[in-house]
Subunit: 235 residues, 2 copies
DNA sequence: GTAGCATTTAACCTTACATTAACAAAATGC
DNA sequence: GCATTTTGTTAATGTAAGGTTAAATGCTAC
């Protein structure tokens, strides 16, 4: 889990206002996806996970409330903020009914919006304890704790692993005794496959080999032109 | 949780308005305690646990913000809604900084307030750890009393902790031996995540490390780019 | 007011991490 | 064998994160 930007889905049909708002949010380190109408908004929502949705209420074809309802059916938790030109009481009530987290009347102050977003995100910051992805591995005499990024030898010595070391070893462990294609690591961990990332990966393979050296049952073999293989030999 | 009435602390100095609002909320099945000024509000807050605080901003002697800050020192989680006559941008920002959950301008529609309250309560309900009301921890040879904010070493030496020290150590203890994400502390305790709050947090980590130093089984480890880990080693 | 705290800000330092570069050594294919 | 590609190794460099310290600020209480 690295320093990820928070992802915001912004659904706003006014192209000028939408673009300005998007830029402003991006300047404040949010990753923003801008949909130009309700339909598009729902498509984009289904395709990805968002930390927050900002919906304009007044939109052609599919208004913000309808969209909010659809979003709620898919995901009961994602915070929703409505933008609205008029401050009609009925609208506000309707908004809270579909589970709005907040409400903003246009024109609104951008700093206020920012604070609201921060407040909502902070609320959300639950201690989501580790999704049950696999984070612990036994590798010969080693135990790899991939969440806390350390490698224990025979229950004793702990080696801290850097994020890349950790990811790489985890990927190898997931393919224990089997081929872990070079390309897999490069695309999954380095997100790019070129001469330099490849060289970088080799550097990390070397580091891992150094850590694993203390147990002579464990080794990382190269399969020329294919990838690597984490082998655990019997005693 | 059982079918308990939710308890609301209402702090409002205008006796007429306060009484009307209190009655209205009670009619809607909330248990309401009405304090007539900031001082009284804080006294009442300390005496009981509330699910929500509604604070008037403009009050003699102790305004709503000051009160909110005091409340926050005691309890970082309780939702706070401000009532204010004027909609000054600075005020709104100030409100969110002290951790407001919402903001209402007087005169406001009572139904809107009700919806907001419902929305906030619903949010709280889904907040998984909101109920982790644990205030006493054993950390190696230390005992942390997080309510009274002190740290005892081997039943003897007591160190008083400042509010921030206390919250931070508590958060670490809640995740003992596990990762306590940096971001979690920053959003929960500092309510903001930027370069300076991050540096501030480091200062507090240093303070805690100094306190904990006397017990060499206990340490706070950093996990680069992720957060911290309070480790208690076996003897 | 000012004394005494808690907290933030600021500057600065250290460490951790990832990449790059240059080169050596294997492996492969002809 | 020798040319080419792939892998291995080491060191340097750059940057980001974390750590430390002291001063500045803000608050409360006297």
């Amino acid at each position: 889990m690295d320093e990820q930007e928070k992802k915001i889905l912004l659904v706003e049909d006014d192209p000028n206002f939408g673009t300005v708002l998007k830029d402003y949010l991006m300047m404040n380190d949010y990753a923003v996806v801008h949909a130009k109408n309700g339909m598009e908004g729902f498509e984009k929502f289904k395709k990805d996970d968002y930390d927050l949705c900002i919906l304009d209420v007044m939109m052609p074809y599919k208004d913000g409330f309808t969209l909010a309802k659809e979003i709620r059916e898919k995901n009961a938790d994602v915070p929703i903020v409505f933008l609205t030109a008029k401050a009609m009481k009925e609208d506000v009530l309707k908004g809270y009914k579909v589970g709005a987290d907040d409400y903003l009347n246009k024109p609104f102050d951008s700093e206020v919006l920012l604070m609201k977003i921060k407040a909502i995100m902070a609320r959300k910051a639950t201690d989501t304890v580790a999704d049950s992805k696999q984070f612990e591995f036994k590798i010969g005499n080693f135990d790899l704790n991939s969440k806390l990024r350390f490698l224990t030898y025979k229950g004793g010595d702990q080696t801290k692993l850097s994020p890349k070391e950790n990811e790489l070893l985890r990927l190898l462990a997931l393919h224990e005794n089997d081929l872990m294609p070079r390309e897999l690591a490069l695309t999954k961990i380095w997100r790019d496959d070129n001469y330099f990332t490849s060289r970088s990966m080799d550097v990390y393979i070397a580091k891992l080999r150094k850590y694993l050296k203390v147990d002579d049952k464990v080794e990382i073999l190269n399969i020329h032109g294919e990838g690597f293989r984490l082998v655990v030999n019997a005693d």
